[in-house]
Amino acid sequence: MHVKLSRDLRQDPWFLIGLSLTLLFAGLALLGPPLAPFDPWDISFSPISPPSEMHLLGINDGGQDIFSELLYAIRNTVAFGLLSGFTALVIGVLIGAVSGWFGGFVDAILMRIADIILAIPAIMILILTASLFQPPPYILALILASLMWPTISKAIRAQTLSLRESLHVRAASQMGGGNWHIIRRHLIPEMFPLYLIGFAAKTRMAVFMEASLAFLGLFDPSRKSLGMMIAYALKYYYMEVWWNWLMPPILCLSLIIMGVTFLAISLEKVVDPRLREALVEKTA
């Protein structure tokens, strides 16, 4: 199943564009800050100057180099998204597999909790905690993850229920494989493509949330973030600075979100067999 899947994916232009955008920004997040020409907290330049050879994107109102700021902001935004998406994925897969495999009472309780969490708007909890406690960003990323797992675990649970009846899983269980052994060695590897959808979708949501929280001013103001850069630049949009100060963070944020969106959409298209059949039959 997986071999065919990767072949299908490699032929989908959306997947390739999404993958290259994601890799580009992951690379920028890793290598950006060492490449930054200036310290983004250095306020010694003359405020609001246009781009020059030394300062590729000019200087902001606080006398900081915008290009260096941008590189640090990309790292923070991407890191927040990946941390939150990955944690949500781990929680979601574990709970989904456990719930589907054990069934019965465990399943009923876990899925009830999932329903309740699903109904609570995550942004509101984040705004409340961020404005009351001003926690470090990684705590907010983890809180967001703890609110995002239910959709993943529902998908994983449904898949587990059908896998539970498949021959190889039944064979493993009849040969005396324990619960955890089966979950670890059979269920979790088998559902690999499903994770990727969940991971891409949740990372997209987390990046969006991070940008919005930063835009609303809920993070430490000295922490560079794309949302915060947009918020500051927007205050001066009536000056002729919008193309070198406002545009770069907007473009980067859009491209990051676009990259993960393309990944999620093309994976969904390839993995969901019903949709794929519908598409293939009509085009053939």
């Binding site: 705004i127 409340l128 404005s131 907007i250 519908a278």
Partner: protein, 326 residues
């Protein structure tokens, strides 16, 4: 199978789930501020220029710590006694209900418009599957889906409010304007245009892609062939036979996407300085006006819960089969 008791039990669980979610939100809004280190008096006056005498401080503390537990808190919430805003010095409930109608106007119209356009274009695109128009539409929508509201909002603001000056950059009405009812209506629409366009551009691609994908599956069904064989008009097949079944995912996913949408609406209101809950929340965050933040967060979540629960009801009307699926 489709027994009445089953359906009633499903609906009962739904209501229980939402009540528990609401209770969790209310309890968090009660608990979290009480976990803060120090107390309200030190927090407010620590950085102020006034120095309190010991008596004043004791008096203030006595006033602010009349904490009678969760039951009392619930009672205060129910009687709209949500405290006073530190920054505006008005009751929080006045601020909240002053801002709420604008948010409902903006979010409601954005949702209705984007659902309608997304649904119709989605149905038509799926019907013309394989054509160049359809491919172009899907491609364009996929790209649009990737552009967050912050970005479209800022771009529209810079282009249409600043460079072209076609639309106002802030507010919901012209202040102190006098005129008849219709002039006022046009003025409101003029102010609504930019934030509304931003939100529609953000919501509509998702609706389009969902409708198109589910239509693609419905179109293959045998009852569509039957309808065709009977010689029914294509438009009637599309909307009365196929689209009704394709409508489900839009409605089911609505609840899931609402939390996402709320985030976007907060940001878009702030970008266009639209006087709704988002701007109120933003100003409260800037001045660290905790009672306002708390009230906006809590009550907008409760409204969201009610809307999702209401949508579940709509969902059952659209597709009577689901009553026994749960």
């Amino acid at each position: 199978m489709a027994t009445g008791t089953n359906q009633a039990a499903g609906r009962f669980w739904q209501v229980i789930t939402f009540s528990l979610a609401a209770l969790a939100m209310i309890y968090l809004s009660y608990l979290l501020p009480r976990l803060l280190p120090g107390d309200f008096v030190t927090a407010t006056y620590a950085s102020a220029n006034v120095t309190l005498t010991a008596e004043q401080e004791a008096g203030l503390r006595a006033y602010y710590t009349q904490d009678k537990g969760f039951g009392d808190y619930l009672l205060k919430l129910a009687t709209l006694d949500w405290g006073y805003s530190y920054a505006f010095l008005t009751p929080v409930s006045d601020l909240f209900f002053g801002a709420l109608p604008w948010t409902i106007l903006l979010l409601g119209s954005a949702n209705l418009i984007s659902m309608f356009i997304g649904f119709v274009t989605g149905v038509e695109a799926a019907w013309r599957h394989g054509s160049r128009t359809e491919k172009g539409l899907v491609g364009g929508m996929t790209v649009l889906e990737g552009i967050p509201e912050i970005c479209t909002g800022v771009i529209l603001l810079v282009v249409f409010a600043y460079n072209l000056q076609w639309f106002p950059a802030a507010g919901a009405e012209t202040a102190y304007a006098e005129g008849g009812f219709f002039q006022r209506l046009i003025d409101m629409a003029h102010h609504l245009a930019l934030p509304l366009t931003t939100l529609v551009l953000a919501y509509f691609p998702g609706n389009f892609l969902l409708t198109r994908n589910s239509m693609m599956m419905v179109i293959k069904a045998h009852y569509i062939d039957t309808a065709r064989a009977k010689g029914i008009f294509p438009r009637r097949i599309r909307y009365a036979h196929a689209a009704r079944n394709a409508l489900q995912p839009i409605v089911t996913r609505f609840g899931l996407r609402l939390a996402f949408m709320i985030t976007g609406a907060l940001v878009v209101e702030r970008i266009n300085s639209y006087p709704g809950l988002g701007t109120l929340l933003f100003n409260a965050i800037q001045t660290r006006d905790l009672p306002v933040i708390q009230a906006v967060v809590l009550f907008s979540s409760l409204i969201v819960l009610c809307v999702i629960l209401g949508m579940e009801g709509v969902y059952r009307i659209i597709d009577p089969r689901i009553g026994n699926a749960r």
